[in-house]
């Protein structure tokens, strides 16, 4: 199929349709919106990491002439003890509510406690001092070890561990346990001639999108209220806010603004429900924005983790058994990506005997949110480091070792399904033949290589394509565009319709103008929404054929359509798409195609990254000197943006491996809540990021597309970690490889 097929637009490097607005400053992001009569909201945040709220008194604030509205947890109509008692309240909804406005306990420093609205931003911020809160501070629980200790203070006194062999009898900070098995792990280790076993840990990190959360809302009594916000999923914002405020979906309209980065962090709600409460109470439109400090302290970061990996193998490199114990920090409320972490940890390997046990642990840190391939970077970091250690131990090239055990079509995954056609072996071969892997290394330079896996998802997408009388048209989709997906939609539709991409204007429609779309996440948009675009375009083609048939007085079967022109097989007649549109009113009205799908068959995307680092032996400072990202895209619709996903994921992973981490005081206060001391990579920190696009088509997509957005952040942690270990001649087990840690290793060596 795809590889044989010749494309006209797919695979070209067209100019993105939303580009002009973005290079000129015209594009409107979350905080760029204003409404007539708009006032500003501000949030009072907890000064404690763990405390009971003894009293919360807003009377002084309400009395202030500056203050137009005040909001607290009590303003969530549907989330109350009555509902909880009646069992009609999902615990997840209660937790969402408490994470947005604390109920009777604060579980992390910076957690929202109350909110006010005033005429100016400064007035709102100043009015926060008029809210009186009395706290009873409790001991903060800041690490996995502290949380699982026998005498650990409990964050949620009634929380029982789910998934234990015997139902839990005592409450605990362990929210859930998960176990996955394949084959006979003991037999597997018995067969082994060599065993590698080591424990690893990774820090709490943040997605680090440059645009802070922001929203502008207007509550409307005689329906629909409007929410404007930067989000990866405006339909899910609508659902969450509706649940929290007891509204029907039809009473809410959510408009997805341009979004300044998400990476998973903009898949939930923080400000939106609060702003709507304030708008309802004040009768005015309300704008709320987070400061960068708020973003770090109170939006969802990614889990810190502790992992123990044990691998057994024959001296010829055949891996006989792999075992993992994985702990993930969930933050203040249960729900870390421990599940996907367990499911992905060993998926790059076709091994008979596997055993994985995972734990979801609550700590007094912000509730984690998704971050690019949630759960996979942490667990696969540990697994890939151990695999590289095994390669060194048996003196085998790390690529050869992986090729010998590589997951392929038919490999039985630990979580159930067998893999279909996948591109891991192709990526490994490409790495082996790469100029980078063949190049030699200088002094103090080390090289690391790692593989990575992410499932990718499909799911629900809805698309409408409307053609205009002059043959131009619009594509209404519902997937917020976080990385240039509108360009891909335009190209896929243009490919099917056989016209220039520029003739079609792709629009991310609000919740009222297109049917439900799942959140942009799971690397699903170009795959799933792309499938909907193709289906809608194909239905447009069918209509174009029947319209032409009507004009020629033949049957649609006698009409062939290609390259934007309908041809009468029974004669010489030809009609272009534009000509057919121009006559639409005489042949049955205007032309439009829709598709509402639930896409299946999202093909997994595997990647292999190669990293060279130079370590300063006197200071422990690590510089990445060369980096290559190789990944299976199935079929690259727009190669530039596919490369961009590889490069962006690689650099986020490099940051995770080298300098990024939440630094906490003993009191549980994050001490580096800003871009000055939360050190994301800079242009000057990096070499060019070389890319190799591997294309092993996904047979479930008409053009062969696989999602590419997430896999790229999985390999860098171990690629960098291994490179540092090689450079200093010491094992690396803890991220980030910050200079003090690396220097300590260097000094402990001599």
């Amino acid at each position: 199929m795809s590889e044989a097929r010749a494309f006209k637009h797919i695979g070209q490097r067209t100019i993105r349709p939303d580009g002009f607005d973005k290079v000129t400053g015209k594009a409107n992001y979350g905080a760029d919106m204003s409404m007539p009569g708009m006032i500003w909201g501000a949030i009072l945040r907890s000064p404690h990491a763990h405390a009971n709220i003894l009293s919360l008194d807003t009377t002084r604030a309400e009395a202030s002439p500056d203050v137009l509205a005040v909001a607290t947890f009590q303003d969530f109509p549907s989330v109350n003890d009555a509902a909880a008692a009646a069992g009609t309240l999902k615990s997840s909804l209660m937790e969402t509510a408490e994470n947005i406005l604390a109920k009777n306990k604060v579980l992390y420093h910076g957690q929202a406690v109350a909110a006010v609205a005033a005429r100016t931003e400064a007035a709102a911020t100043a009015a926060l001092a008029l809210i009186d809160v009395e706290y009873e501070p409790l001991t903060p629980v800041l690490t996995i070890d502290a949380a699982i200790a026998d005498d650990a203070p409990l964050l949620h006194p009634t929380m029982m561990t789910q998934g234990l062999l015997e139902p839990a009898t005592e409450p605990s900070n362990i929210a859930a346990r998960m176990e996955l098995k394949k084959g006979d792990i003991e037999a597997g280790f018995a067969e082994a001639e060599v065993i590698v076993e080591r424990s690893y840990n990774t820090p709490t990190v943040h997605q680090g999108y440059i645009e802070p959360h922001a929203t502008v809302v207007r509550f409307d009594d005689n329906g629909p209220s409007t929410i404007w916000c930067p989000t990866q999923g405006h339909f899910d914002v609508r659902a969450r806010v509706a649940q929290l405020l007891n509204l029907e979906l039809g009473q809410l309209k959510v408009v997805a603004s341009e979004i300044g980065g998400g990476f998973g962090g903009k898949t939930t709600v923080y400000l939106e429900p609060v702003a709507l409460i304030l708008s309802k109470k004040s009768g005015r439109p309300v704008k709320m924005t987070m400061t960068r400090e708020d973003v770090f302290r109170a939006s969802g970061p990614a889990s810190a983790s502790q992992s123990t990996i044990k691998i057994g193998a024959k001296m010829d490199g055949t891996i006989t058994a792999m075992q993992a114990t994985l702990h993930y920090e969930a933050g203040a409320f249960s729900g870390s990506p421990m599940g996907p972490g367990c499911m992905t940890v060993f998926t790059p390997y076709d091994v008979e005997n596997l055993y994985v046990e995972g734990f979801d642990v609550v700590v007094n840190k912000p509730k984690v949110a998704a971050y690019r391939a949630p759960g996979a970077p942490q667990s696969e970091f540990a697994a890939e480091m151990a695999v590289n250690e095994l390669a060194a131990k048996i003196g085998m090239d790390p690529i050869d070792l992986r090729l010998k055990n590589a997951a392929k079509e038919g490999t039985q995954t630990i979580y159930g399904p067998k893999l279909k056609v996948v591109g891991l072996e192709a990526c490994l071969e490409a790495a082996k033949n790469s100029d980078h892997y063949r190049s030699s290394l200088g002094e103090h330079v080390g090289r690391g290589l790692a593989a990575g896996f992410w499932f990718n998802i499909g799911g629900q997408s809805s698309v409408i394509i409307n053609l205009n009388p002059d043959g131009t048209g619009t594509i209404l989709e519902g997937s917020p565009d976080i990385g240039g997906s509108r360009a891909s939609m335009q190209m896929m539709a243009a490919e099917v319709l056989g016209i220039a991409p520029g003739k079609l204007n792709p629009i991310v429609a609000d919740t009222e103008h297109v049917a439900y779309n799942q959140t942009t996440g799971g690397s699903r948009t170009t795959f799933a929404t792309g499938m909907a675009v193709i289906e809608a375009a194909e239905s447009v083609v069918d209509q174009l054929k029947s319209r032409a048939a009507a004009m020629w007085n033949v049957t649609a079967e006698q009409v062939e359509y290609s390259d934007g022109v309908a041809a009468n097989l029974a004669g010489e007649d030809r009609l272009s798409l534009a000509e057919i549109c121009a006559n639409a009113e005489k042949t049955g009205g205007q032309i439009s195609g829709t598709a509402n799908i639930n896409a299946r068959g999202a093909g997994p995307s595997f990647a292999v990254h190669i990293c060279d680092v130079k370590v300063d032996p006197d200071t422990g400072k690590t510089d990445v000197v060369r980096y290559t990202a190789i990944q299976d895209a199935g079929k690259a619709i727009h190669p530039s943006y596919v490369e961009g996903q590889f490069q962006g994921g690689a650099v986020q992973g490099i940051g995770w491996a080298l300098n990024e981490e939440y630094v906490y005081s003993a009191e549980g206060v994050m001490e580096n809540a800003g871009f000055l001391d939360y050190r994301i990579p800079l242009a000057s920190d990096l070499p060019p990021i070389e890319t190799i696009i591997v294309e092993v088509p996904n047979s479930f997509h008409p053009f062969g597309v696989r999602g590419v957005g997430e896999t790229g952040i999985v390999p860098p942690l171990a690629a960098v970690g291994t490179a540092v270990a090689e450079a200093i001649g010491m094992p690396v087990t803890s991220l980030p490889c910050s200079p003090p840690k690396v220097l300590e290793l260097l000094l402990s060596k001599s």
Partner: protein, 290 residues
């Protein structure tokens, strides 16, 4: 709500009388890169801001046989473009260049960096190594204070109410003298120094060190002079022994803390490494002179 009063006087006298007669807590602002952020954290307090960038001599930089007379409010971007100044004081200009991003360079000044008195301030060790003097003007006249005495603690300086830093005087270096400033940061840019070292060296024709001054930063509440490091270098050809002794002296003089930017052990070790490297670089620069 707190109110801010802003004045941008055009003469020094005007500025001094403004801060001397202020009924509000008064702050002198040059680049504002520290002050504006600090003000956002002090929402509740009214204050007076005196912007001194409109005072010509505050943003001037003149070189003569006496040395460099530097307007404290001159932004680093303009200072670092001055090749004539860079030729004489490469280390000081490097230090100014290291303050923040290009954007911050467009605002931040050496005087502001000094008055803000952060332990990690990049220009302070370089100013000290060059024997810089602060010209302080106030209602009670003027006084001259060496930079090492100007800074009195973390965020503290010796300015009395009604006084301001009017000028920085950096003496003409001796013949065959060059300086260097190096700092350690985890990234390649943007960060605050985890440790810093400035060295000024004079070498005779035979390459023997006849004079030296070493100052280190970010490893104590204030930048500190390290006489033992200088002593170790003077009389030597900057051989391994001398450099090792100087590095050890700097590490011993350091009295650092552990924080989000580095540990005590790390800072102690690295400040020695930087001292050795800065001394070597300064010596290379003398060698390159003719």
């Amino acid at each position: 709500m707190a109110a801010l009063t802003y004045h941008a006087p055009t003469t020094l006298d005007e500025a001094i009388s403004l801060i001397a007669n202020a009924s509000l807590p008064a702050k002198v602002m040059s680049g504002g890169t520290d002050l504006i952020i600090q003000m956002q954290r002090m929402l509740q307090t009214d204050r007076l801001i005196v912007d001194v960038k409109k005072i010509p001599e505050m943003t001037a930089a003149t070189l003569d046989e006496g040395g460099l007379k530097l307007g404290p409010a001159l932004c680093c971007a303009k200072l670092t473009r001055r090749q004539d100044i860079k030729a004489l004081y490469p280390g000081l200009v490097e230090a100014a260049y290291l303050i923040g991003s290009t954007q911050v360079q467009g605002r931040a000044s050496v005087g502001g960096n000094l008055c803000n008195a952060s332990p990690a301030a990049d220009t302070i060790p370089a100013l000290i190594a060059n024997g810089a003097i602060c010209l302080v003007e106030g209602t009670n006249g003027r006084r001259r204070v060496p930079v090492e005495a100007f800074v009195t603690g973390v965020g503290q300086n010796c300015l009395e109410p009604g006084e301001m830093l009017a000028s920085l005087e950096i003496p003409q270096p001796l013949p065959r003298t060059q300086d260097a400033y190096l700092r350690f940061i985890p990234r390649t840019e943007m960060d605050i120094a985890v440790a810093g070292a400035a060295v000024s060296l004079t070498l005779d024709e035979d390459g023997i060190c006849t004079a030296a001054k070493v100052a280190i930063g970010a490893v104590a509440p204030t930048a500190i002079v390290v006489p033992d490091a200088a002593t170790a270098l003077i009389g030597s050809r900057l051989d391994e022994t001398a450099l090792t002794a100087a590095a050890a002296a700097a590490s011993d003089a350091a009295n650092p803390i552990s924080d989000r930017r580095g540990t005590v052990a790390f800072r102690r070790h690295v400040v020695g490494v930087l001292t050795r490297r800065a001394a070597t670089l300064a010596a290379e620069r003398v060698g390159a002179l003719r």
